[in-house]
């Protein structure tokens, strides 16, 4: 059943909403192939279709339906050099490191190791050089962390500005989709005709993660980027797609045209390598005066592109703008997959040759 030339991968916590996204995105992937799926003790031993309450718009891939769920331990995924973790943080806290210890490269969506000094916190288009941190890890394998779903959209939109002008201060208010809370997640009784002006732990992540992601990598580790962020996070009745209202103070003055230009022209290593999941343009500048909007723009380039719009001057800082990105694709499973593709292309998967890019 297995294609010899593909890299066998495991998905940890494969039945939850992020796990399902991994399964859907890995279906027919040119490099990777799902060889093992794991779940919590409650679902262990069941067929995937029995245990997963499948809630994706695409049908459950046929070859996964009868796959038996294994325990979330390294022995269960022995033949998989690459492991995607969709575990929730509580499980990830103690379950992920053993996989790295056992020689697997773990690309994780959980927050557990994000701020560990030797774990790269990465967005493929933003700080690919941080992969170098893997060499400083003490495990035979390694861990790469995907940032928080709202951080990802933010740093994607900011990267060209950081690179061209510097960014000093940032005010961001998020309007986040309910899919980010998983299943059961937010009760409909809490959010219909309503919004919730707090997401536990989220503001802290938005205020801290960009400092590490934009940090300078050297042999001594990551030197944090000197940016001050004030974040307010809201849950709104939108299914998918996080919207951020951003005000930004630049390191040096720049005109609207300069900003639009660096956004439009931004391409990264991920684009140059033609990684399978990389969007052609990581940032789409929209012209509609009330764009971007989550339902209209979350699916651009298969949900892997961030969109920006409404650039205008800010009476307090320099500029205001709006950015939208798909929280469970770009902001979770898709972003992690792209990180794994980058690691593969750079020979960072233990014992695996670099796949041929087209």
């Amino acid at each position: 059943m297995s294609t010899p030339s593909k890299i066998p991968v495991a998905v940890l916590g494969a039945t939850g909403t992020v796990g399902q996204r991994f399964i859907a995105l890995l279906d027919s992937h040119p490099w990777f192939e799902v060889a093992a799926v794991t779940a919590s003790q409650r679902s262990e031993g069941k067929a995937y279709r029995e245990a997963a309450s499948w809630i994706q718009a695409s049908p459950m891939p046929a070859e996964i339906r009868e796959r038996v769920l294994r325990p979330t331990v390294p022995e269960a995924v022995a033949g998989c050099p690459l492991v995607f973790s969709a575990l929730d943080a509580r499980a990830a806290d103690h379950l992920e490191a053993p996989f790295a210890e056992a020689g697997h490269l773990v690309v994780t969506n959980a927050r557990s190791h994000r701020l560990d000094p030797d774990v790269p916190l990465m967005v493929a288009e933003v700080n690919p050089d941080h992969l170098g941190l893997l060499d400083t890890q003490s495990w035979p394998g390694g861990i790469i962390a995907n940032p928080n779903c709202s951080t990802i959209g933010l740093v994607l939109a900011l990267k060209p500005l950081v690179q061209a002008f510097g960014v000093r201060r940032l005010h961001v208010v998020s309007l986040q989709a309910i899919s980010g809370a998983g299943l059961p997640g937010i009760s409909s009784y809490q959010i219909l005709d309503n919004l919730i002006p707090r997401i536990p732990g989220e503001e802290e992540k938005l205020e801290s993660e960009p400092r590490k992601i934009f940090g300078r990598f050297s042999e001594g580790g990551i030197e944090p980027y000197p940016i001050a962020v004030s974040a307010q996070c809201n849950r709104v009745p939108v299914v998918d797609g996080h919207t951020l209202c951003v005000s930004v103070e630049l390191g040096r003055k720049a005109s609207e045209e300069e900003i639009l230009k660096v956004w439009r022209e931004y391409r990264s290593e991920a684009q140059r390598l033609l990684l399978p999941s990389a969007p052609q343009r990581p940032i789409h500048v929209l012209e509609g005066d009330d764009h971007p909007q989550p339902r209209l723009h979350r699916d651009l380039e298969g949900g892997m592109a961030a969109s920006v719009g409404r650039l205008r001057s800010c009476p307090l800082l320099d500029y205001k703008f709006v950015t939208v990105s798909h929280n469970t694709v770009r902001g979770a499973a898709g972003g992690a997959l792209l990180l794994a593709e980058l690691a593969a292309a750079q020979g960072k998967i233990p014992g695996v040759a670099v796949p041929a890019t087209s």
Copy 2:
């Protein structure tokens, strides 16, 4: 049918959503009584129940059902010293001044005259002294303007801070209910599973109106309050209730306790006079760590109180907090009604004695 001791009032533009709120709130009002309703040419001459697409949760008041809609001209409301305007701005631009010219006191919800130097832009609990501007108007009657629906919640929450500590800079992102756009307003196809990160003209209002409202009144007019505001406005799929995410820089340092104290203790002339529509406490400080929320808190004190919560320090300015208020009650018809009550209590309705307050 008419109660001799009540003041006959007219509602201009009585069939729209704000007009309907006026009708609902004026039902059984202790001082005022709806004596005339007007509408656009299309509805003129029809019975109210025929022309109004009634969308309030309370039934249409029986005595209004068969009321015939009149043209929106002063002659049609001759016996009404007090006139509420629920006209949209395009109509209000040229239709309101003739009523003031004809001797009526117009309390308007439209934006047309808000920034006129001699028109008071008022929230009853915030700047009651601005009523004095009426004396500088050249009309035999007068015009008092209700601020924009999102401004009202903002200045209510800020007033105690302005008074106690001063406020210098303000960053505000609004998440506004769809009822604010009236009927037909926002198409469901635009907003279901979505949000719209722009409300035409709204950011400008939030950035300018507080300067006038908090301004110092003297014989020479209003001296604007020196506050810098950056606003970003979003329409979200919530029926009623605007939520504001606010960051504020105070004039002098204050502790969280001091802020909570001035919020909790704030009372104004409107409360002291026991005006019929005045909330007992204009500001409710909520303790829930994810409060306030529009569906849960918009109806506090009949929709006339603003609620605040989530006070915490801000990495950029001094403090962050969240405030919610009912946009079509406190932010429109209810706020205007309270202004009229204040004007009546202070003898500002032409030819009308001051009503007895309890």
Copy 3:
């Protein structure tokens, strides 16, 4: 603190959504007064405000906030002759009967005893005579059951037709609000931009309960009413208010006018006794050609009235119509409260005198 003349009552399962509605509706009740609240072991001993995730639009009554939650056993509510049960069915299965055994009158919203032959399944306006079944129960106290939330709206709308013309066959499709599933209930991820065409167990209840409710009471018990019902139940993204699309075959032919007349004129014992929670008119016939609608009409008469509309002929049976009622007020806590008032007025609460009705 206690008013001597009021009847002390207990609420079992007081922290859930139906329990909260009981607490809200009992606040300032003229006859009853909450003397005890119980909860599951997890919340036992906590203050009510700590344990309840309060989600009502009205604030939590002050006197309940610090009330300590007791275990759900008869000893904990010794002084309360009347007990409201908001337990879920799994708990109610074994927890309710001991209260009846201990001498309490239990008015329950749970389904556990609904189809017990000697337990009256009642809607106050529909089958008040079934109270007589209490005398056949073997407990010193007793149990009265409130029907399923969607059944209540259905039988209210049907009662005048059953009485005047008879009803033989019924086709009903429900569009039910999410509040009916409680908290956490339906995940927002399942229902936003979606609907769920199944509610476990609901169709069976709609197909069976009307037969008992409309049944003839005699000493031998309830003889089921010969009605055939086909039900299809859907969960839709509406907060409160169940909508039913009904097709009905009458026992004898009747004109639209006759039907409208019996609906409009329907009054019951509950209205004649002026029970505190009884709506003045249990059924409101609406004229709007797209009425009733849940958001507009669920709150009629404090949520205690059912509304009907769109009566028209049916190509298969005799007539089609639409009915809306508030599922957690009329369909749950409010309906149960009205049953308790009826029982009190008829001297059915053990050891308690009949309250004076106005």
Copy 4:
């Protein structure tokens, strides 16, 4: 710019929601190519991107952006033998026939000619033989009509039953998405936290169109199928996807297994011809006990497949089931496109050779 081998087509009323779907679905179509777009007088002469408020999830096709909108008259689309009409009924009433008169084949989504005796009312998989009616039309060109969006899902699900067992009586309650009402369509203020239990004209269409669609075609025209339908139609807050709750009485008794079998095995001419827009399986039988659901299943096979589920016996008729289909793809533009492909494959487009099917 034009591909010589493709058939040039025009889209009438190209800027509305159905028009936009036509544009999106015709992008990269293997047989057809958009050569002309028309609009109402208000938009005539403008570029498409200026006039269309694009609300599709896929970006506006690049080659359409600058296309100038023409008037909706035959002279404006002279080179297009095939014309898709997305006009609303009021415009279609008088604008479509002139195109047929001028020699074009018009495939229309409007209701104007649906019940004309010589106009085929067709679903490609249901009654392809009705194409024969074209020969009886008096125009040099012709008109083919797409049924109402909710009818299409219904007759797709019923076709295998009609064919295998016959269907005599039908009870259907629809829960219809808001996109069916177009833009601006349903106001968000009307439908958020609500539903509307009436769609003007919709019940009549559901009760009459199936009789024509399932009718027997002969030289004398269509002999209506003897089926009695009772329909109740509701608008619910769902973006796309109509859900129907159906009860059906069969012509002869059949077991659940027989029904599931004819549903699963159903294929039509459209599948055998491998028409570009034809789904591989027009009907998907879902196993989930609360399936189908609009958000999860509307997009099956690009939105062209209907899904069915919850087959169970009905206490009044024979069986109950639920069906979901995408109302603006399968139920509008996609269905019309498939009809045009069928007409092309059968040589019914005036002056155009039959395209090669793969």
